[in-house]
């Protein structure tokens, strides 16, 4: 087991660069999410890691061992990786136990160990009682767990997962996320997890690679991704928030405290920097029109959406900039509110 290294990995399909010079160093035992909108090349990247797609350029290494270059590669059957397919890919003509045991048949395993390993794997995903069933007779979540057991039975160096939760309902998702986490902790295998669901990526991974149109745009921890997005695109893609133009400041800084409001003052003509403002950092207060106002920021309420625990309020400032805020109670549409911004992140131009 060792570090997994992607060095300028590229893939071109019919002259379209689908994956464009991605470089990542994935430490052993980390849980990595590949996150990005549909069609950005996540699956292609994962399939190159597995060896199902050839590389058009760059190099793939596991420690000192080269897995693939544009000219030669180790075929998937020799890589000791595990993969959970989006469709689960359970073989319908084999029982659960046979499905799980199949990878062992291609490794040199002492004959006595076979049954034990299969049982252990089934035990971990709590599928022991279903060992003799056929995949058709299982529920979606159970199939998922069989697929997981099949990929962990051989103690793979790297486990690849392609949107494994995409077609499960919300409750099942939560419990499956839990089993992925437990599995990762127990085995210590490097896990690479493709998803377009940012909440899933945030809650599972300790490192996230965000991809856009085949390129890597940010590679960081979930917290850094949320609070310190590198580009405006990432800022808009991850979480909720508004992009506001304000007074020029150095790039990539977290600004807090009293000074934040002043950045966006309406009289501020030369607005040159873009800022990310998260809705939880926007405090609003209804203005009593009869009372004279001090010169703070104001905005008009355009619409609001009830989200259960709070209201999501959409606002427009006098200079037509829009932003979002959270508020515990409903506010009248059209009302004017005073704004207090507590934190902002200055984006790179």
């Amino acid at each position: 087991m060792a570090e997994l290294i992607l060095n300028q990995v590229s893939k071109v399909f019919e002259q379209n660069p689908v994956v464009d010079q991605i470089s990542l160093n994935i430490p052993q035992g980390s849980f990595v999410a590949l996150l990005g909108p549909s069609g950005c090349g996540k699956t292609t990247t994962l399939r190159m890691l597995a060896g199902f797609e050839t590389l058009s350029g760059g190099e793939l290494r596991l420690g000192h061992q080269t897995l693939a270059t544009a000219k030669a590669q180790i075929s998937p059957e020799d890589r000791n990786m595990g993969m959970v397919f989006q469709s689960y890919a359970l073989w319908p003509h084999m029982t659960v136990a046979e499905n799980v045991g199949y990878p062992l048949k291609h490794r040199r395993i002492p004959s006595g160990m076979y049954q034990k390993k299969v049982n252990d794997a089934l035990e971990t995903v709590e599928m022991m009682p279903y060992a003799q069933r056929y995949p058709q007779d299982l529920s979606g979540g159970q199939r998922q767990r069989v697929a997981l057991a099949r990929c962990l039975v051989t103690d793979p160096d790297v486990v690849l997962l392609d949107e494994p939760l995409a077609n499960l309902d919300r409750h099942l998702r939560a419990s499956m996320e839990e089993s992925f986490r437990a599995f990762h902790q127990r085995t210590g295998a490097t896990m690479i997890y493709v998803t377009h669901d940012q909440a899933e990526a945030m809650s599972l991974a300790n490192q996230i690679a965000v991809m856009e149109k085949g390129r890597l745009v940010q590679w960081s921890s979930p917290e850094a991704l949320y609070h310190q997005p590198k580009t405006q695109w990432v800022a808009e893609f991850i979480g909720q928030g508004s992009i506001l133009m304000g007074q020029k400041v150095p790039e990539n800084q977290t600004l807090t405290g009293e000074g934040v409001n002043a950045l966006f003052h309406p009289t501020n003509e030369r607005a040159q920097s873009a800022f990310l403002v998260r809705p939880q950092h926007v405090q609003i207060e209804l203005i009593n029109a009869s009372l004279p106002q001090s010169a703070t920021l104001t905005a008009r309420v355009i619409s609001q959406v009830y989200r259960g625990e709070r209201y999501e309020i959409h606002l427009e400032m006098p200079n037509q900039q829009r932003l979002q805020a959270f508020h515990p109670v409903a506010v009248p549409i059209g009302a004017t509110v005073s704004l207090n911004l507590t934190q902002a992140w200055s984006l790179a131009a």
Binding site: A50, A72, E77, D78, S87, Y102, P103, R107
Partner: protein, 569 residues
């Protein structure tokens, strides 16, 4: 772990296997047609005096040509009427017992044409044992009404109606039910729905079915041979047969020219079909999961009676006649308890030589062709899936050629190829069973391959990838994963090949030699030599065998991709 050059990583089929497959397909499919073309055109430099030009100048050629067009045209019309009646009734209405109805309707297609012809001959005419038994037989000496162009056309129509039915039903099944529901909500009455929605959307299926039926009628040999030859009414395939059996290999160049003529006709038909399939291929959006059914209310019983009446006319009556014929001592004798005899069956079993030999020849040929084609189609389908789209379209269309061309054409091509001993190895195939075997392989490769391809394309590629990442080598993946999943389709393909080849007549009629006759040839020869009773007895057994095999296919329909068993929805 070793690095392998990209060019031969194991997810690609191995080079040599692919090349061997390519070679086999090439030998089986393209070479015969090319050989035929060369033979027909080899003295082209003589221009007006070349064989091809002379064949074109002969009046008999054009007489047979126009007769071919007339009988197949009329036959196609009948097939379209019958086929669309059944297709619309079965897919769009709420009539009962659909599976049984479709099974019975498909049976004529599976029964060899010469048996169909024989049973109709037994049904009609003054000698008909059935009509005699019922006391309805026309006066002795009155002509057999089926020995005519219209008789041929009628049987061609019945034989090929299932083809129209299949093509039409495919497009009807894919007709989204909500399109019709939307039309109804917009206020369209029943006849408007038909005119405005259903007919335009099924037009392609209708055109496809029509041209397939036309091409098959054009190439049919059994029916015009049994009905036309006694009346000296020759169409192109029977003209070729008659000249070949009359003059032998000396007329081969002439025969090749005739074959090219009929081959060109067939190819035009196929082109029309493909053009129709490509042009105006609507993407049908909508939910097609639910089958559409018009509630016929009180009209339902009427339609059911009408459909079963058609079935009893086109299937039951002739089969009954065939059975009656096989149980009487001589033609013209009514069937009673006194006259009932199994002597025909006795004779069939006891008569040494011919019958038994024909049975064993046909069984040997069809079983071995089916087995070999099953293996071939597994290998071809498995490598096609992984090779480039260009190669696979090219291969698939070349595999279609020998099946689409009339059997006579393929037979002539095989004679041309194998008349002389093979070069280098000096092996003579002409006059052996091998030549028939090779012709069967070429002709039925597409029959065996289609279900396998459908099944393998339906298979989720990640199933195999999961095995690959589990460490399985390409051959293990084929054996452990792919084979079990496509096995039912392979079996179905083999069964279809067996079914079509065991009573095949068109190819073997020209390729058989003494001691090498097939079942189809036997029935044909017995009838030609006036031994109709014995022919009927053998035909009854053949029908029985077809019936049993079709039932067998129905039983495994559950495990097959949709559409492999034609009469199961």
């Amino acid at each position: 772990m070793t690095m392998q050059p990209i060019s031969n990583i194991s997810s690609q089929p191995s080079r040599w296997l692919l090349s061997i497959l390519l070679l086999v397909i090439l030998l089986l499919t393209l070479i015969p047609s090319l050989r035929l073309l060369i033979e027909a055109l080899k003295d082209w430099h003589l221009l007006g005096d070349s064989t091809f030009a002379q064949v074109l100048q002969e009046p008999s050629t054009w007489r047979a040509f126009s007769r071919s067009l007339y009988t197949s045209g009329l036959g196609t019309l009948i097939a379209v009427c019958l086929g669309s009646l059944f297709a619309f009734s079965v897919t769009l209405t709420n009539i009962r017992a659909k599976t049984a109805l479709v099974f019975c309707f498909m049976l004529p297609m599976m029964i060899p044409p010469q048996v169909t012809a024989l049973s109709w001959l037994q049904l009609m005419g003054p000698g008909s044992p059935l009509l005699n038994t019922l006391g309805l037989a026309p006066a002795l000496g009155s002509p057999q009404p089926l020995y005519s162009a219209e008789g041929i056309a009628m049987l061609l129509g019945i034989q090929h109606a299932p083809l129209v039915f299949l093509a039409l039903r495919t497009s009807l099944i894919h007709l989204p039910g909500d399109l019709i529901e939307a039309a109804r909500l917009s206020g369209a009455r029943q006849h408007h729905i038909w005119l405005d929605i259903i007919l335009p959307l099924t037009r392609n299926g209708l055109i496809a079915g029509t041209s397939i039926a036309f091409v098959s009628a054009l190439g049919n040999f059994g029916i015009p041979a049994m009905l036309g030859i006694p009346a000296s009414y020759y169409v192109l395939p029977t003209l070729i047969y008659q000249k070949m059996s009359g003059f032998g290999p000396s007329v081969l160049p002439e025969m090749a020219s005739l074959s090219v003529l009929i081959g060109v006709l067939a190819l035009i038909g196929i082109q029309i079909q493909q053009y129709a399939a490509q042009k105006g291929r609507f993407r049908l959006l909508g939910n097609s999961s639910k089958a559409q059914s018009f509630d016929l209310k009180r009209g339902r019983v009427g339609l059911e009676v009408a459909l079963w009446l058609v079935i009893s006319l086109i299937l039951m009556a002739p089969l009954l006649a065939l059975m009656t014929s096989s149980l009487v001592p001589a033609l013209g004798v009514p069937l009673t308890w006194e006259t009932l005899t199994f002597s025909a069956y006795d004779e069939m079993v006891s008569r040494q030589g011919m019958t038994r030999r024909a049975f064993s020849n046909s069984l040997l040929l069809s079983i071995s062709a089916a087995l070999l084609l099953m293996v071939l189609s597994i290998l071809i389908a498995n490598s096609l899936r992984k090779s480039s789209a260009k190669i696979s379209t090219w291969l698939l269309s070349s595999i279609e050629i020998p099946y689409a061309l009339p059997g006579v054409v393929l037979a002539i091509a095989c004679i041309l190829l194998f008349a002389k001993p093979l070069p280098f190895i000096n092996l003579a195939l002409y006059g052996t069973l091998w030549i028939i075997f090779i012709a069967y392989l070429a002709r039925f490769l597409s029959v065996a391959l289609k279900p396998v391809l459908a099944s393998i394309n339906e298979m989720d590629p990640s199933l195999e990838e999961a095995a690959q990442i589990a460490g399985a080598s390409p051959s293990r993946r084929l054996i452990d994963i792919v084979l079990p999943l496509i096995a039912p389709a392979v079996g179905a393909g083999g069964l279809l090949v067996f079914l079509t080849s065991v009573n095949e007549l068109t190819v073997s009629a020209l390729l058989w030699s003494a001691g090498r006759e097939t079942l189809g040839v036997l029935i044909f020869n017995l009838d030609e030599s006036g031994d109709s009773i014995l022919a009927a007895a053998i035909a009854v057994l053949v029908v029985l065998m077809v019936f049993v095999l079709m039932m067998l296919l129905s039983l495994c329909a559950r495990y097959l991709p949709k559409g492999v068993v034609p009469w199961q929805s």
